[in-house]
């Protein structure tokens, strides 16, 4: 009897699956120190906190005329009207009656970034021609300056668009587009092409940077998931929530900007251009400061900006300001020697001075923290959070394990009441148990973190599993006793037809949870689906084979 059984492919597959699972759970790879198994547990079952972050930014498609932007920019600077005489793809000519000298106008053009220009005069009229124009860049840089935010050109639905990396409302955008006759584009249904989210690339790169940050702080293997295209979900096992929030919100968006005109500033560089940050030190005159070193790229950016916006000649009028998460944390002009030096070569070593006395020292310490903050491409806002203490987590583990065992017992009771035969009950129980073992084995292999929803999924699998075993048993016993072998096989396939249909509907029902973002319920869906697949392809075929053997020995 048993030889036939062990040669059957279904039984062989089944036994291999069970052994592989048991090995994966407890034996190989060897469990980490202090733990008995390779099972990983999520927050609910181990304690820790979770954070849901929203990335702050918007994407928008804009309709605006480059010429109108240029006209607006110059008329503001010159305080006079502009008449456009010629407009081409890469150049534009206009005249103005402004009393400013030719050199002044040339300087204005440079400061606006139109460095290839000619200015001529005929009587009262000044004729200005700008060359080497890049329309997209003109639009982008106009937006950037007016919104005081980083604006990145992107493609959205295969059209050119912009990602604005700051908290900009639709209204504010419309306000700065109005003076230049621009507007937000509409789609074919009439909806404004303005969405408060960032691009997938930005989302992914923020996720990567956060991951690095957390690793650096000694927190390894932090699951960081993206939920849809808007949110990031971080599970910090073993960390309490206030620490979690401060760790995550500390890598702020650090930016150095330079004052261009009165209240406007332009972007110079981000925190990722800062190579090293020193400790707060006092100089000979008792002034506190924090030294920092820019990398080569950063030094060049700083020099270019200083020259372009006139800080080298006029440091007082063009202060450098430092922003953390768009909040001004420091502002000071270039020191006179620095201004002189930077004119000649890029400078990498800088000192930010914060003043004297206790206040100066405190501010220096604060500035040190800010400078050290890594650069996230966008700001993040914590919009969801939770915490489970470790003690509570351990208790949940125990509680759910007991629930699982009791559930199996209750199910066995019902099965016994129906069939009154230990011969049927024992294989059913064993098959059910083995399905659970295989799911846990699968979880161990892929390193899945089991959380409360996953446990609910496992209990659901026990339920469906037994259901299907009942279908098989009843199909085989359709006439009240075991049929001869050939009829037996056809019965089994009939049973499996029903089982496949039922399994497919379960998988379809759980699939939306996989793709949609609740984040939290993904575990539940994965376990339910994997459980059904393991059951249908491995456990139940084996049961079908075994039950025949068991029933045929009288």
């Amino acid at each position: 009897m048993t030889n036939g059984l062990l040669k059957d492919i279904r039984i062989i597959v089944f036994l291999i699956a069970i052994f592989a699972s048991l090995i994966a759970i407890a034996i190989y790879p060897p469990p980490p120190e202090g733990k008995n198994t390779n099972l990983k547990f999520g927050l609910d079952l181990e304690g820790g906190s979770w954070l849901q972050l929203k990335l702050i930014g918007s994407i928008v498609q804009i309709d605006v005329d480059r010429d109108k932007i240029i006209a607006y920019q110059f008329s503001e600077l010159l305080n006079d009207s502009i008449d456009i005489t010629n407009s081409e793809l890469n150049s534009i000519s206009f005249t103005t009656t402004s009393p400013h000298s030719k050199d002044e106008i040339k300087k204005f053009a440079n400061s606006l970034g139109y460095t290839t220009n000619t200015v001529s005069q005929k009587g009262n009229l000044k004729n200005v021609t700008l060359y080497e124009l890049n329309s997209d860049e003109i639009i982008r840089s106009y937006l950037e300056k007016r919104l005081s935010a980083e604006v990145k050109p992107i493609r959205w639905n295969n059209r050119p668009a912009y990602e604005i990396r700051s908290n900009i409302t639709k209204e504010k955008l419309i306000n700065i587009l109005e003076p230049v006759g621009g507007r937000i584009k509409h789609d074919s249904k009439g909806n404004l092409l303005f969405e408060e989210r960032v691009t997938k690339e930005t989302l992914d790169s923020t996720k990567d940077i956060l991951s690095d940050k957390l690793n650096v702080l000694g927190l390894k293997e932090i699951p960081i998931r993206t939920v849809g295209s808007e949110y990031i979900l971080i599970d910090l096992a073993g960390v309490d929530i206030t620490t979690a929030e401060s760790i995550v919100s500390k890598p702020g968006k650090f930016e150095i900007r330079i004052q261009t005109e009165k209240n406007e500033t332009a972007h110079v560089l981000y925190g990722d251009n800062i190579e090293r940050v020193g400790i707060p030190l006092q100089d000979n005159e008792g002034v506190w400061g924090v030294g920092f070193t820019l990398n080569k790229e950063g030094a060049k950016k700083l020099r270019d900006a200083a020259i372009k916006y006139g800080a080298v000649d006029n440091p007082e009028l063009h202060e450098l300001s430092m922003y953390l998460d768009n909040r001004l944390v420091y502002s000071a002009p270039l020191a006179p020697e620095l201004a002189k030096n930077i004119k000649k070569v890029p400078v990498t070593d800088m000192v930010a001075r914060t003043g004297t006395g206790e206040e100066g020292r405190a501010r220096a310490k604060e500035l040190q923290i800010h400078l050290s903050a890594g650069a996230l491409p966008v700001q993040v806002e914590v919009i969801g959070s939770g915490q489970v203490s470790a003690a509570l987590g351990a208790m949940f583990r125990e509680q759910t394990a007991i629930a699982g065992i009791l559930a199996l017992l209750a199910v066995s009771l019902v099965v016994y009441l129906r069939y009154h035969q230990k011969k049927i009950l024992l294989p059913m129980l064993f098959t059910s148990l083995s399905e659970v073992v295989m799911i846990l084995g699968f979880a161990s292999i892929i390193g899945w973190q089991l959380d409360l929803p996953s446990i609910a999924g496992i209990i659901a699998v026990i339920g469906t599993g037994i259901d299907h075993l009942v279908i098989i048993t009843d199909e085989v016993l359709y006439e009240g006793r075991l049929p001869p072998t050939r009829i037996y096989l056809s019965r089994i396939s009939k049973a499996f037809a029903i089982i496949f249909a039922a399994a497919t509907t379960t998988i379809i029902a759980m699939s939306p949870l996989l793709i949609m973002g609740f984040g939290v319920l993904k575990g539940f869906a994965i376990i339910a689906i994997v459980g059904v697949l393991i059951g249908v392809f491995i456990a139940r075929p084996a049961y079908g084979r075994v039950i025949k053997e068991v029933l045929s020995e009288k």
Binding site: K54, G228, E230, D240, I241, E245, I383, G384, G386, Q387, S389, A390, A391, L392, M395, F396, E398, Q399, A403, A407, L408, A410, V411, L413, V414, V415, R418, H420, L452, P453, A456, I459, A460, I462, T464, D467, V470, D474, Y478, A497, I498, A501, A502, T505, T506, I507, I508, A509, M510, S511, P512, L513, M516, G517, F518, V520, L521, F524, A525, A528
Partner: protein, 302 residues
Amino acid sequence: MVSIDLKKHIESYVAKYTIKQLIVIPLVVLLIASSVLLWTYVNTGSPAKLGVDFKGGTIITINTQDTPEFLKAKFSEYNIIGAREWGNRKMLQFENTTRDKYSELLDKVKKEYGEDVEIKHMSEIVSVSAQKQAIKAVLIAFIGMAVVVFLIFRTIVPSIAIVLSAFSDIVIAMAFMNIVGIKLTFGTVAALLMLIGYSVDSDILLTNRLLKRKGPIKEKIIKAMETGLTMTMTTLAALSVLFIVSTYSYMVSEFSRIDILTDISVVLIFGLTADLMNTWALNAGILRLYMEKKQQKRRNKT
């Protein structure tokens, strides 16, 4: 040992009721359940009351002897909307406030109640988009299930019967949620989706046996019910255990309540109980009607 003669009870059930009774009674129940949902929708803007996951807010559970009244007064400046006993612990529920107030609240809770706190916080932004996603998920799952059913059986009336039965299960389960006061949370949404998968199992079994096997209709139904009832009973047994352990075990042990498991088990228990009626009365009744009409057509042709 009490032995239940399942077969006898089933046989008398099948013999007793007419087709009309089998179909009409479940439909009436469905109607009542739908009106409960409609009533809730008109009153609150959604067919089921929304929990924190979908409405936004904060829930904190702590281990303390302080009474709920005391706690409510203590945290009154933080927009607290409820404090109650929760197993061996106390549960506090807050509406959303400003970021700073929320940090203050967390600090205060930490300071006074130590590390043994459980916190869940959802802002409105997430909650609104979560609501939309939940609706989408249930719709997609339901439609997907209906498509699979049609593909399997390829006949209209039986497929519609199955889909109707599953639909009724969900509506009745949600109506019970409203009556008993269970709120819509991630857990209950997961349960509703599972219900879509589970409830169809018994209907598929019934339809398969009736359409694809030979024999007198009533005989086939009786046999199908034997299997189907066993299936539903085993699942109900497992769920009842889950419900008891996650909701009442605190009374006899150090364990606490586990809301997400309570939610999932209760919704499924309601749904599967409704499924008993919807599969073996409504679906069975429709199928009997359908097959008898088919038999008549054949007789009329010959």
